[in-house]
C-alpha cells in the first residue's frame, strides 16, 4: 500500500489530546442530591453488568482512537499498486453528425447517446480516466483524460448537434492516440452507424488479421484500433427522404438564364410521395411532384430565367395520405405514408449570382460583329460613337476598338485591337499568325474559352509599361489578351485584329465579352457553389461603404463570429472591409443554411440595412447522411453493455471514511445516544 499524502500522518498526534481528555473524563462530576431514594430504586432494580461497566470507558477510548486512525488514513489517501495497474483509460467518441438529429429514438439519437455516455461516467472506477472526443468535421477533444466525473458530465451535457457528415475514423484515431497504448484502454463510439463502414476499425478486421497471419507480433494500426473499439449504436432502420444536392448556376449562353441541379434520395424501403418546391428569394419558381421508388435517387437540371439573383431554397415536403406500396414486405399491403425522421435535409439552399445591366460605350470606327456581340448581351446598354467624347462617362464600361487616346480614360476600359500607343503600352511590331498556346485558366475571364484553335492571322505586339496579367499568350510569349494593372481602374487589352481573325465568328467571343462584362461589374461568375456542411472556404470581400466596422460571419441560426486575418507577426487582426478586396477563410461551416459575411455593426434597422459582403450556401448534401439506416457491419459488431464499475469503484479513503462514519454512529449509539434528550 502506498500513500498519496503521507504528511497526513502527522495528524495522528491528535491522539494525545484524546487520551488527555479521556483521563479527564474519568473524573466524574459530583452532583449533590437531596436524596438517593429514587436513584436507588432505579439502579438497584437493574444493576449494570460489572464487566461492561468496568471497560466501557476504555472501549470508548479505543473507538475514538480507531476513529482518529481511520480519518488519518483517509487523509493520507492510500492506494494499492493493483489499483494503478487496473486503472482504465476510456475514450468516448461522439458522433454528432446531422443524422444524429433523427428522432426515431426519442428525443433524438444524440440525446440517447449522451444518456448512455453518462452511464459510462457513472461506471468509472477510482483512477479511471475518461476523455470525450467529438467527431465533427475535424475531431475535437472536448475533455482530455480526466477522472473528474462532474466535469465529464458537464461536457457531455453541453454537446450539441451539428449538420456535419460523419467523420468517425479520424476521431477514433485521435481517441487511440489519447489511449497511448494503455493496457486497459477502450474506445466507446457513440454513433448511429449512418456511415460507410469500410474505413472503420471493425472487429472483423481482427478476425481477418488472425486468419492471415496468426503469429503477427505487430498488428496493423487498424487491427490495433479494432481491438479497443466498441460501437454503441443509437439508431433504427428509420426511413428518410432528403435533398442530397442543390446547385444553381448562371447559364453560359443566356445571360439571364440559370440552371438548377437538384437530387432527392428516398432512403427507405417504401415508395414515397413528396413535393419539391423551389423558391427564389421566397418567391416560388417551380414545384415538382415526386413519387420516389424505394432507394431511388432522383436528379434533374431545371432551366429558369431571372435577372435578379439571390437565395434559392429547395423545400422537400412529404405528401401524407397518399397510398404507397410497401415493397419491403413484397405483399400487396399498402401504407399511407412513410415517416421522415430527419428534417435537416428537407431544405437546401443555393446562391444565384445576380445580373446587373451595365452601360457600355463602344468607340469604334465600325465593326458589326463587335457591335452585335455587345448588343446581344441583355445586360449591356450599349451606346456607340466613332470618336472620343469630350468627357468620358464615369458609370460606363468604355470599349475602345482601334483608336486609343494617349491617356486611357479612368474606370473600366476594354481595348480591342489598339492601333497605337498610350500611357499603358507602347505599340510594337505586328505579330503574324500568332498561335495561342497558353491561357490563364485560373482567371474568371477565361472561363469556358479556348483560343488555341482560333485562327488569328494578325495581332499587335504591345510593350506594356507595367507587367500585365497575361490571359492568353502566343507561342513566342506575347500577350494577345491581358489585364493591365493600373490604379485608375480595370483595363483589358485584346490585341487581335477582329477583321482578319475568325474570333468574331467563334462562340468563344461572346463568352469572352460576357466574362469581361461580368469581371468589370465585379460579379464572381456564373456559379457560387453550394458547399457541404463541414467545408472550409475562402470568400472575397470587396470594397465596402463603411470601412471602420469589423467584419463578422453570421451563421444561419444567427451566431456571430468576428473574422480575423493573420498578420505578419502572427497576431490576429480583426478583418475590416477596406478599400481593396480581401480574402477570408471561413469554416468549418457546420450548419445548413446561408452563411453571410457582413459588417459587424450591431444595429440593423430598416434605415441601416445589414450590409452583406458575401454569402455562402451550405447544405447537408450527403447521400449517406440522409440514409438513417445503420451500416450492416456496425449492427453486427454493436455492443449493448458498458463496463461495470465493480465493487471498488471509489477511492480507498472513501471506504475508510465510511467505516469512520459507522464507528461514529456506533460510538454515539453506545455512549452518547442515551445522553441526548
Amino acid at each position: 500500500m502506498s500513500f498519496a499524502l503521507p504528511i497526513a500522518f502527522t495528524l495522528a498526534a491528535l491522539a494525545v489530546p484524546i487520551m488527555g481528555l479521556y483521563v479527564l473524563k474519568v473524573r466524574l462530576r459530583r452532583v449533590p442530591v437531596s436524596t438517593n431514594l429514587f436513584w436507588k430504586q432505579i439502579y438497584d432494580e437493574k444493576p449494570p453488568r460489572s464487566i461492561w461497566q468496568h471497560f466501557r470507558h476504555f472501549v470508548s477510548l479505543l473507538l475514538q482512537l480507531l476513529l482518529l486512525l481511520l480519518i488519518v488514513l483517509a487523509l493520507s489517501d492510500p492506494y494499492f499498486s493493483w489499483q494503478l495497474l487496473e486503472s482504465r483509460r476510456l475514450v468516448v467518441v461522439f458522433d454528432n453528425s446531422a443524422s444524429m438529429r433523427a428522432t426515431d429514438i426519442g428525443p433524438s439519437r444524440l440525446a440517447a447517446a449522451k444518456s448512455a455516455a453518462l452511464e459510462i461516467i457513472d461506471g468509472m472506477r477510482f483512477r479511471d480516466e475518461v476523455a470525450i472526443v467529438l467527431a465533427g468535421s475535424t475531431p475535437e477533444v472536448i475533455v482530455g483524460m480526466s477522472g473528474h466525473a462532474p466535469t465529464l458530465r458537464d461536457a457531455i451535457n453541453t454537446l450539441s448537434f451539428s449538420d456535419n457528415p460523419t467523420h468517425l475514423v479520424a476521431a477514433i484515431e485521435l481517441g487511440h492516440q489519447l489511449l497511448d497504448q494503455h493496457p486497459h484502454g477502450q474506445i466507446f463510439v457513440m454513433t448511429d452507424g449512418a456511415i460507410d463502414s469500410q474505413d472503420l476499425p471493425l472487429p472483423s478486421a481482427l478476425e481477418s488479421n488472425a486468419s492471415l497471419d496468426p503469429t503477427s507480433v505487430a498488428p496493423h494500426k487498424t487491427q490495433r484500433m479494432a481491438s479497443v473499439v466498441e460501437y454503441h449504436l443509437f439508431a433504427t432502420a428509420a426511413a428518410n427522404v432528403g435533398i442530397t444536392q442543390l446547385q444553381v448556376r448562371r447559364s453560359l449562353i443566356d445571360p439571364l438564364g440559370y440552371e438548377i441541379l437538384a437530387s432527392v434520395r428516398n432512403a427507405s424501403a417504401n415508395q414515397v410521395a413528396c413535393r419539391l418546391e423551389f423558391l427564389l428569394n421566397d418567391v416560388p419558381v417551380d414545384v415538382i411532384p415526386l413519387i420516389l421508388k424505394p432507394e431511388e435517387i432522383w436528379s434533374r437540371a431545371i432551366e429558369k430565367t431571372s435577372l435578379e439573383g439571390g437565395r434559392l431554397e429547395g423545400v422537400l415536403t412529404q405528401i401524407h395520405g397518399i397510398e404507397t406500396k410497401d415493397v419491403s414486405e413484397k405483399t400487396n399491403a399498402t401504407k399511407l405514408d412513410t415517416l421522415d425522421f430527419l428534417s435537416t435535409d428537407n431544405n437546401a439552399w443555393a446562391l444565384l449570382p445576380s445580373r446587373k445591366t451595365q452601360r457600355v460605350l463602344l468607340v469604334s470606327p465600325g465593326n458589326l460583329f463587335l457591335q452585335k456581340v455587345f448588343e446581344a448581351n441583355p445586360l449591356a446598354e450599349v451606346s456607340i460613337r466613332r470618336d472620343f467624347p469630350a468627357q468620358w462617362p464615369v458609370d460606363s464600361i468604355i470599349v475602345l476598338h482601334g483608336n486609343v487616346p494617349s491617356i486611357l480614360p479612368p474606370g473600366n476600359v476594354f481595348v480591342i485591337d489598339p492601333m497605337g500607343s498610350c500611357d499603358q503600352w507602347e505599340q510594337g511590331v505586328a505579330i503574324e499568325t500568332p498561335i495561342v498556346t497558353e491561357q490563364n485558366k485560373s482567371s474568371p475571364l477565361m472561363n469556358h474559352i479556348r483560343l488555341d484553335n482560333v485562327l488569328i492571322p494578325d495581332a499587335k505586339q504591345l510593350l506594356f509599361r507595367t507587367p500585365p496579367q497575361a490571359l492568353a499568350k502566343t507561342l513566342s510569349g506575347e500577350s494577345v489578351y491581358a489585364e493591365v494593372q493600373r490604379p485608375e481602374g480595370k483595363c483589358l487589352v485584346l490585341s487581335v485584329n477582329l477583321e482578319t481573325s475568325d474570333l468574331a465568328f467563334r462562340t468563344a467571343f461572346p463568352i469572352l465579352v460576357a466574362n469581361s462584362l461580368g469581371w468589370f461589374s465585379g460579379s464572381t461568375g456564373e456559379l457560387q457553389q453550394s458547399l457541404p456542411t463541414g467545408a472550409v472556404t475562402t470568400v472575397t470581400i470587396n470594397r465596402a461603404t463603411r470601412v471602420s466596422d469589423d467584419v463578422v460571419l453570421n451563421s444561419p441560426h444567427g451566431e456571430t463570429t468576428v473574422l480575423f486575418v493573420a498578420g505578419p507577426d502572427s497576431v490576429n487582426i480583426p478583418l475590416t472591409a477596406v478599400g481593396s478586396s480581401q480574402s477570408a477563410t471561413i469554416g468549418p461551416l457546420h450548419e445548413v443554411g446561408v452563411w453571410s459575411v457582413r459588417h459587424g455593426r450591431k444595429e440593423t434597422t430598416a434605415d441601416i440595412p445589414a450590409n452583406i459582403l458575401a454569402e455562402v450556401a451550405v447544405n447537408l448534401a450527403s447521400n449517406r447522411e440522409s440514409d438513417l439506416r445503420p451500416a450492416k457491419e456496425l449492427v453486427e459488431s454493436r455492443q449493448t453493455h458498458f463496463p461495470a464499475a465493480g465493487w471498488l469503484r471509489r477511492p480507498f479513503w472513501y471506504y475508510l471514511v465510511l467505516v469512520a462514519c459507522s464507528l461514529t454512529i456506533l460510538e454515539w449509539f453506545l455512549y452518547q445516544r442515551r445522553l441526548i434528550s
Binding site: L28, P32, V33, T35, N36, W39, K40, R674, L675
Partner: protein, 289 residues
C-alpha cells in the same frame, strides 16, 4: 434573611384574612367534639338521675312532659403541633426548602396564636431534634421566630415515625398536627402519619420539593452525593433513567396525595420557589372549599 422586616406585617395580614374569610375553618375557633359546658346548643339526651337539673329543658317538659337534658358543645383551646422536618435534605435547592418550611411554620404559628390556640413546634430528623414547648398568646411569636431562625438542619436520615413517637411520649394532647416536610423518608412517611391518625390527631401534610428534584438536568456519568446521608453513588444517567426517575418522583407525590385523600388528611404540595403567604392562601382556599 429568613424573616424580613415586613414578615410580621404579612403574618398579620394573613391572620386577618383567615378570620374574615375562613372563620372557624382552619385553626382557631375550631369546636372540639367534646360535649361540655359550652354555650352553643348541640342536642338533647334523656335525663338520668344525678344529672344537673340546670340543663333540663323546661320548655319541652312543660309542653310534652318529657325530661330531656340540653347538651352544649364545649369550646376548648386547640393544640397545634407544627412538626418541622429539619433533616439535611430540606437544605436542598435555592431557595432551600427549609427556608420556606420555617416561614410556613412561623406563619401558621402566628395565625394559631392570634386565635388564642396553643402552639408547639417540633423539629425532627431521625427523631425529635429540637422543640419549642407549647405556648399561647400572640406575643409569643417572637420566640417562635427566634427559635426557627436559629434552627439548623441536622441528622443523617429522616424518620417521621420516630418523631411522632417522640411527640407522643411527651404526652401531647390531641390536636392539630401539621407536618412540614419533603417526606423523603426511607422508612416510609405513612408510619408516622398512621400514628398521628391512630392517636386522633387532626393531621395536615405540607410537602415541599425543589424544582430540580422534580426535573433534574442530569445526563451522563456522575457521582450522586446524598446530602443527607452523605452516601455516594456512581451512576450513568441516561435519558431512560432520567425518565424513570421523574416517574418515580411523580409516583411518590401521588402516593402522598392518595394517602391523605384516603384518610381525609389535609394535603398541600408545593415547590420551594413559591412565596409562603401564597401557599398559606392556597391552603385556606383548599380548606374552605
Amino acid at each position: 434573611m429568613l424573616f424580613p422586616a415586613d414578615f410580621l406585617t404579612r403574618l398579620e395580614y394573613l391572620s386577618i384574612i383567615s378570620k374574615r374569610v375562613f372563620r372557624g375553618q382552619l385553626l382557631a375557633q375550631r369546636r372540639t367534639m367534646q360535649m361540655g359546658a359550652g354555650i352553643e346548643f348541640s342536642d338533647h339526651r334523656e335525663y338520668n338521675s344525678g344529672d344537673d337539673l340546670r340543663y333540663l329543658d323546661w320548655n319541652i317538659y312543660a309542653r310534652h312532659g318529657d325530661l330531656l337534658l340540653k347538651r352544649f358543645q364545649e369550646e376548648q383551646d386547640l393544640h397545634v403541633y407544627l412538626m418541622l422536618d429539619c433533616s439535611r435534605s430540606m437544605s436542598f435547592g435555592t431557595p432551600s426548602k427549609f427556608d420556606l418550611a420555617r416561614q410556613l411554620v412561623a406563619a401558621l404559628a402566628y395565625i394559631a396564636l392570634a386565635d388564642l390556640d396553643r402552639v408547639a413546634v417540633i423539629a425532627y430528623a431521625n427523631g425529635v431534634c429540637a422543640e419549642l414547648p407549647i405556648t399561647r398568646g400572640k406575643a409569643r411569636i417572637l420566640p417562635f421566630m427566634k427559635f426557627l431562625e436559629e434552627l439548623p438542619t441536622s441528622g443523617d436520615e429522616t424518620n417521621l415515625e420516630k418523631a411522632v413517637q417522640g411527640l407522643l411520649h411527651r404526652g401531647a394532647r390531641t390536636g392539630l398536627a401539621v407536618v412540614v416536610s419533603d417526606l423523603f423518608d426511607e422508612h416510609g412517611f405513612q408510619k408516622g402519619l398512621d400514628q398521628l391518625r391512630h392517636r386522633r390527631f387532626d393531621a395536615h401534610v405540607i410537602q415541599l420539593h425543589d424544582p430540580k428534584e422534580a426535573d433534574p438536568a442530569l445526563l451522563g456519568d456522575a457521582e450522586l452525593i446524598d446530602i443527607e446521608s452523605e452516601s455516594v453513588r456512581r451512576v450513568t444517567i441516561t435519558e431512560r433513567n432520567l425518565k424513570l426517575y421523574k416517574q418515580l418522583f411523580t409516583d411518590h407525590q401521588a402516593a402522598v396525595r392518595a394517602y391523605c385523600c384516603t384518610y381525609n388528611l389535609g394535603c398541600t404540595q408545593a415547590p420551594s420557589v413559591v412565596r409562603f403567604d401564597d401557599l398559606i392562601m392556597k391552603m385556606m382556599r383548599e380548606s374552605g372549599g
